[in-house]
Symmetry: C2
Amino acid sequence: MLFDFEYHNPTKIYFGKTALSNLESELNGFGKNVLLMYGKNSVKKTGLYDEIVQILDKCGKKVVELAGINSNPRYSQVLQGCKLVRDNDVDLILAVGGGSVVDCAKAISVSAYAHGDPWQRYWIDYEDVDNKIVPVGSVLTMAGTASEMNGGSVITNEDQVIKNGRVYGPEVYPKFSILNPEYTFTVPQHQMVSGVFDIFSHLLEQYFSGDDDNVTDYLIEGVLKALISSAKVAVKNPLDYQARSNIMWCATLGLNTITGLSKEQDWEVHMIEHQLGAYTDCPHGLGLAVISVPYYKYICKYGLDKFVRFATNVWGICADGKDKNQIALEGIDALADFIKEMGIPTTLRELGATKEMLPLIAKSSVKGGGYKFMDENDILFVLEQCF
Amino acid sequence: MLFDFEYHNPTKIYFGKTALSNLESELNGFGKNVLLMYGKNSVKKTGLYDEIVQILDKCGKKVVELAGINSNPRYSQVLQGCKLVRDNDVDLILAVGGGSVVDCAKAISVSAYAHGDPWQRYWIDYEDVDNKIVPVGSVLTMAGTASEMNGGSVITNEDQVIKNGRVYGPEVYPKFSILNPEYTFTVPQHQMVSGVFDIFSHLLEQYFSGDDDNVTDYLIEGVLKALISSAKVAVKNPLDYQARSNIMWCATLGLNTITGLSKEQDWEVHMIEHQLGAYTDCPHGLGLAVISVPYYKYICKYGLDKFVRFATNVWGICADGKDKNQIALEGIDALADFIKEMGIPTTLRELGATKEMLPLIAKSSVKGGGYKFMDENDILFVLEQCF
């Protein structure tokens, strides 16, 4: 059942090999001063940086730069960006990179003119934004977070040792995002598969809740099947444009809110991985993959019909002559096989965890869940299953 | 493969039983003068008209009305609306009704301040809109056209005896649309099933083209499965909220452009039905249903793999031990069974067509197609199959 929802996603997407050709006309819609943000050196190595600077020049923009944004963007970088925005009266923040650069750009966008301490107000107290919001545009180079078409902004406050996520409203979404799948070709293989499973997990976290008949579940099944099909191609041939373009669009659809409408959602795998990452610094998607299999095996009896549906509709498991439990488990086995096919580790040990970490991870994880509320013991049990 | 596309859909959707409670805050975002548009008497009978007028009053709006919009909105009504907009300096056009009222509202929106003859410029010459666009909002009472979240505007010019559709850009999309599935409860059963097949056909027209692996095809399959599941419930119990809410959201997703991205698309069934409708005035969705089965049987050999996919992924046809042709035909048979289950006629005769009309319909239909270019003889053959 579709319960009451609001859907509003005003981001303009330019997708494909020639997507960057739209940057000029977009830039012309904003004022003269641009803050150009990017990560480490990869955009310079690939030549994308030069291309973009040329277009900015052609449009007569005055550009200031904020480089070196981390994969976990830090609050100190946000504050640096805020100062640049104010000092240069910036009209547009242009983020070039993956989700972390875009997350950081949104953080600067809401914080530059904040009244009071933005970290406390926006990432701790979750207050509404009541100040000028500087527009953000993005040129995406990695598929995964959907930050290019949502209001998410995960920031690490290194002084307070807190990593907090905040989902802002549509007024903070990027005004435009440029998605050329070819830009993802240079992402190393382990990061590509990590991204694939991050997308996969976003979809599963939204899918595994509720027992109603709901359009959104069918949409998620569609995106999952598209992702599986293309990930199997891309892992063998990362330069397959068709596969990489499908993965990139699946990433956007997977968390631009359309696959979450009227879903209670789960997100416990992300909560546990969050703490796993804090202890091991393992790639996010790989951590999600390792935790997912034992997690879903543990909770599947609490949402059995949905796991049966997952097995038959997503993985094409034949249900004939099997009981529900068996069908459900075959679906999770198919997920495990997919993870292996991606070349993703299957144990926490391989990701750098030690036996001693497990109780600490279990204790510090935010408790919650979809079909089952996961308490500390539940989480520890799951972690032990994949150690 | 996802070829280059642009996606931008800024319409804000309020969905659910309490959706109308958002009208007040939306109205407050626009100026004082409102043009309230609706169809015949149904919005007055259901009490929705009174509710909306009360909210408009509460917001202190000065309201002018344009009532009696036809199911095929006429250009003379557009011109009437344009005069009301200009004479009253209208700040917002509020369309209450089905797709035709929203289509008509969009037509007034672009035409009120047009330089020159809007019909010629916008519906015949397809020129870009270069004048002030009056914002539109909608309160939807029927599921089908997705006009609530797209730029479509089909208008009949009764003087020139031409019915023309135009798809405008996002600047013409409704700024907000209020979708309460309960408003669709009073739609008569034959209109409900006509709407269901209209949605179904939108999805099939987008689906049946291309032989690539493309996220959009998986999305369409998801929406089709959701629609089939809920239509089967709604046809037996039209007051089932879950089913009607799913149908309403499937309608929006079915033509808000997201299920058409990177698809070449077909639309020949719509082209033929357009002329069938001109001769018989039959309900659009019923005409589409009757034509679809022989049409797809006729073209399926030209896109055989896609029809095999349709059979297995949408209808769950078991492929074991069958050749492709057999699987494809079983899929189309499943579609035919679904149409029967909806209580939809299966012959043109039942829709009021005569044998003499068939060559005239074939001759006047716009020629085109997805997997096969349909010429006059092809179309006549299809029409004879379902006479």
